[in-house]
Symmetry: C2
């Protein structure tokens, strides 16, 4: 939560080797990506093989929460296990004069660590609220809170935001000198996840104000 968090310490596993200029351990950037995106891609092992599933999540300070149904085999496989949580924002298509120098502008965070189960009931309730607030700020003020039975059906995992890095590409294409005068449009097509008009549940007969999705950061 604090904007004053120390940068993460690079480890052998998180040191950015490819294009290190694009790598950072700055918590402000890491938190910005985590807080803006909606979906994390969680990597874990099943029978010695990698699996990746998209999941919602929430962040509270230095902790990332994941959740799902108690019967979710993938989440169960991640309890006390090494996971890799990757969160990516695609910011634009970078079109160069040469095919080779085409690229993407993006902000991506990779977090590594051992996920642990949140058992304590109050901590679980808190994690649940953090996830709902991440998706739609203010929502826990209006939606019916989870009851004990719903909490029991939910498996919550937490991962410390401790070992990880961000990688960021911004700006236009970087073409070779000899290509600069080619008559090929070069530049960036920005991309942004944009909310459309809210669609109210047709079963709802009351007139209520629609909530607005949070803005990108």
């Amino acid at each position: 939560m604090s904007p004053m968090s120390d940068p993460l310490t690079p480890t052998d596993r998180t040191k950015v080797r490819r294009l290190p200029d694009r790598g950072t351990y700055d918590r402000a950037i890491i938190d910005e990506v985590i807080d803006e995106a909606y979906v994390a891609h969680v990597g874990f092992m099943v029978d010695g093989q990698p699996r990746v599933l998209p999941m919602t999540y929430g962040r509270d300070g230095d902790v990332l929460y994941l959740h799902g149904a108690v019967g979710n085999a993938m989440l169960r496989a991640s309890i006390d296990a090494e996971v890799c949580v990757t969160i990516t924002l695609l910011d634009g298509l970078v079109l160069a004069r040469s095919a080779f120098h085409h690229s993407m502008n993006y902000r991506a965070v990779v977090l590594l660590g051992v996920a642990t189960k949140v058992d304590d009931e109050e901590a679980k309730r808190h994690a649940f609220e953090v996830i709902v607030e991440h998706v739609m700020p203010g929502r826990t003020q209006v939606a019916r809170a989870s009851n004990d039975s719903e909490l029991r059906k939910t498996l919550v995992l937490q991962l410390a935001i401790e070992e990880g890095s961000a990688k960021v590409r911004t700006g236009g294409p970087i073409d070779d000198d000899e290509d600069m005068d080619l008559p090929v449009w070069a530049g960036v097509v920005p991309l942004r996840l944009t909310p459309g008009e809210p669609i109210q549940d047709p079963q709802q007969t009351q007139v209520l104000p629609a909530p607005e999705a949070r803005s990108p950061i």
Copy 2:
């Protein structure tokens, strides 16, 4: 490429167990997701631990191509190794009357298999073009094609689209009967990755028409 492709055969690894109604092996749906998204999250192993990185890709029929620099340690670790390629489109936030029933509308594809290196020069060139065309259709007609030196610097992997599944959630929230009259706005906030105004490279002095990003499917 063919809309007549047979559905994928579910395996022990790809059978959709959680909410099986949302699972499908239909190639038309799988291909739609692959063709619409820009970024794949590729899971692979490093020293027995899972890693997930975002990558661009392209599809040609039953083959998915990934590429990167020859020195890319992550790609190198995936040669002849089991990988999991997950491609996710987030279509909307599903806001329920209860916190518990909040959800997301999404389309996600998970592909499993052993990635192999594309060595043949012509095949590599083709893969490269498929990836560029995926990002921006028509672009290989205008951009300078890759030369031999650029191809040598590029590592291309392929994965057969053979073992995998898609999972799709659409529609509004599914609340409990006793919550239906709560005065809480319920419905869907649609989300879509939207292109903004193209930004031409300021170093380009010629007046050229900007290309348009392809529309979502």
